[in-house]
Symmetry: C2
Subunit: 371 residues, 2 copies
């Protein structure tokens, strides 16, 4: 170990502090996120030189707000996702004034992550979409039985949607148990595809403890499912990566942002960067002007982190969502370009008898705008 050049992770935090305190706060942060004890109580030279965190830069971003960049020893992480999270934002997540905004991994650590296995190209191939923007809708509301959800699924598939996903609230509930629902919806999509010659994909939501997730993944695969929805923050980022690596081979992974807002990790880093690093092929986020209050700038930054060139990692498809309507298709494609999946759920379902019409209008609007 000592023969190698030590590798360092760069982590940047936004920190609120007074000007005459920020240097001490930054040093405290470096200690908190590494050795977690006073440096002058450490007698081991190697620990001081190669393990203790260092302050690399402190830059004022706004009055009383500083970007603090630390170097954290890669050897403290090993190859475990939960431990990476621990070193990046374990204890300092408890400081209200600290927010994690940027992470740069050294090459050897980065190489240990596979990232998206299908990526944007693989998602396109899965639904035979060429290079136009992709479409997605959601099966709702929870509480419906499996047959009702499958009937809805079939109508969306007949309308030509690319992906029909479970509402993220659908789990293994009595009203529509997982096994029954997934079998019914997958069969419905296959029937529709046979009629249309299309390639709509049903995307069941996997949620539960790690062993439940493994069971659900195997069941879905056995039924012919090729894409799944998972909320990494809900199941834990380490569980997410393990699920992707061990149980979802060849299946596309759509990441859902549920519970992601609970920690103060900057949304572009978490939803765009970390979810991609851990294997999300597409990442759903609340688009500007919908039910949530994300700004255009934040949404653009999420898409940027998802798609930017990043070592060997395939790009991850941005999926702006959360109260969108077919009328906004052109505007959204203007903002994100063709490498995007538009997800419209409630607005189609609210159309009642005109659901099939609205679904087709959505499909056509996207095809036209992306041409």
């Amino acid at each position: 170990m000592n023969d190698d050049v030590p590798a360092w992770i760069r982590a940047t935090y936004l920190v609120s502090a007074a000007a005459d305190e920020i240097d001490a706060v930054a040093r405290g942060l470096a200690t908190e996120q590494s050795v977690e004890m006073p440096l002058d109580a450490i007698t081991d030279r190697r620990v001081l030189d190669e393990v203790a965190g260092r302050v690399e830069a402190v830059a004022e971003r706004a009055p009383g707000c500083y970007a603090v960049t630390l170097s954290l020893a890669a050897e403290t992480v090993g190859n475990e996702t939960a431990q990476l999270l621990n070193m990046l934002f374990g204890n300092c997540s408890l400081h209200d004034a600290v927010r994690l905004v940027e992470v740069e991994l050294p090459q050897a650590l980065l190489a240990s992550f596979s990232g998206p296995r299908l990526g944007i190209d693989g998602l396109r191939q899965l639904c035979g979409a060429g290079d136009r923007p992709l479409t997605c809708t959601a099966l709702k509301p929870q509480g419906l039985g499996a047959a009702a959800l499958a009937a809805l699924c079939e109508r969306f598939a007949l309308a030509g949607l690319d992906f029909v996903k479970d509402d993220h609230g659908l789990a293994d509930q009595v009203a529509a148990p997982f096994a029954e629902r997934v079998a019914a919806c997958q069969a419905a999509v296959e029937r529709a595809n046979e009629r249309t010659g299309g390639s709509t994909r049903y995307v069941p939501s996997l949620v539960g403890s790690p062993r439940t997730l493994t069971r659900q993944a195997r069941l879905a695969r056995d039924l012919g499912v090729r894409a799944v929805l998972v909320a990494p923050s809900l199941i834990g980022l380490g569980a997410f990566r393990e699920l992707v690596d061990e149980d979802l081979d060849g299946m596309a992974v759509l990441a859902h942002p549920a519970y992601a807002g609970a920690a103060r990790v900057d949304p572009p880093l978490l939803l765009g960067g970390l979810f991609r690093l851990l294997g999300a092929d597409a990442t759903i986020f609340p688009n500007v002007g919908g039910r949530f209050s994300y700004s255009a700038e934040r949404c653009g930054a999420i898409a940027e982190q998802a798609r930017r060139p990043w070592a060997h990692l395939a790009p991850c498809l941005p999926v702006p969502a959360g109260g969108m309507t077919p009328d906004r298709a052109g505007e959204m494609i203007g903002a994100y370009g063709n490498d995007v999946m538009l997800l419209i759920g409630g607005a189609l379902l609210a159309a009642g008898d005109r659901l099939d019409h609205e679904a087709r209008r959505f499909v056509t609007a996207v095809a036209d705008a992306g041409a």
Copy 2:
């Protein structure tokens, strides 16, 4: 299902909103956390009556700040922890203005959780402590080898500490691989106990993906370890509960707050309530006046949630920590009473040659104050 009385979860959120908007915001929240689509687009009567979330109360807590209490259908959760989290704070975690503060589970759902298996009494028995407050310290810094950590462990055990835990930053790193470290530290504690006739317990930190956690738990058990440290937020709450239920039978579980990022799930609910519900026997939190900025009121509320009578759930031991010193033992025991574990790490390690002396002083101070 229709024959039963539907069971409802009560969830309370603190919401920032204007007075003339709060009612609409509250209704929106109820929809977002349940059916996630416009109610007037739902034609199924059962879904409207038994599944859609309801606003139970809106109460102004401060100008522009409201406590919104929702009823959420228990059937939407099933018996999965990740799905409970999803229904409580999935999508609405993405709203900056919403904070989850209280949860009340209906009896049938609550009954499905075992909670702490040892609880406060079991922890006391594990170290033969009678009814005085318990003591704990931490092995640091990461970067030391297994032999150095074990030597430290032995000194603390000889000084009569009840629990000697790994720093939460210790994982399966090259400097002190998990298997080697746990074997060495457990042996060190057993040697010391033989000399002193005491019952110090070594508490290794488990961190990693779900399968790694299972392997680590089995290895620790095989070595004779009877208590472990786990950060539920870091590994995922669903993974935490499954680990406790499946792999930690008979072992005490100390919960660490890393990544609990307690920003928008209220710390008393998360660290005191939910960690206990999922099986933590003791919960570590940043005490007032230490390295973190938690208030005395917040710390008291965490302890209250951890210890209050709550259905069949055993009480969970509060462990105030984060920059404490032996001098504060009396004050802390005055604040928390005897059902507490004092955790002092850095201050003992910083004593250098006087480590053994300081450790004994800590043990004595706690025994005296708790007498």
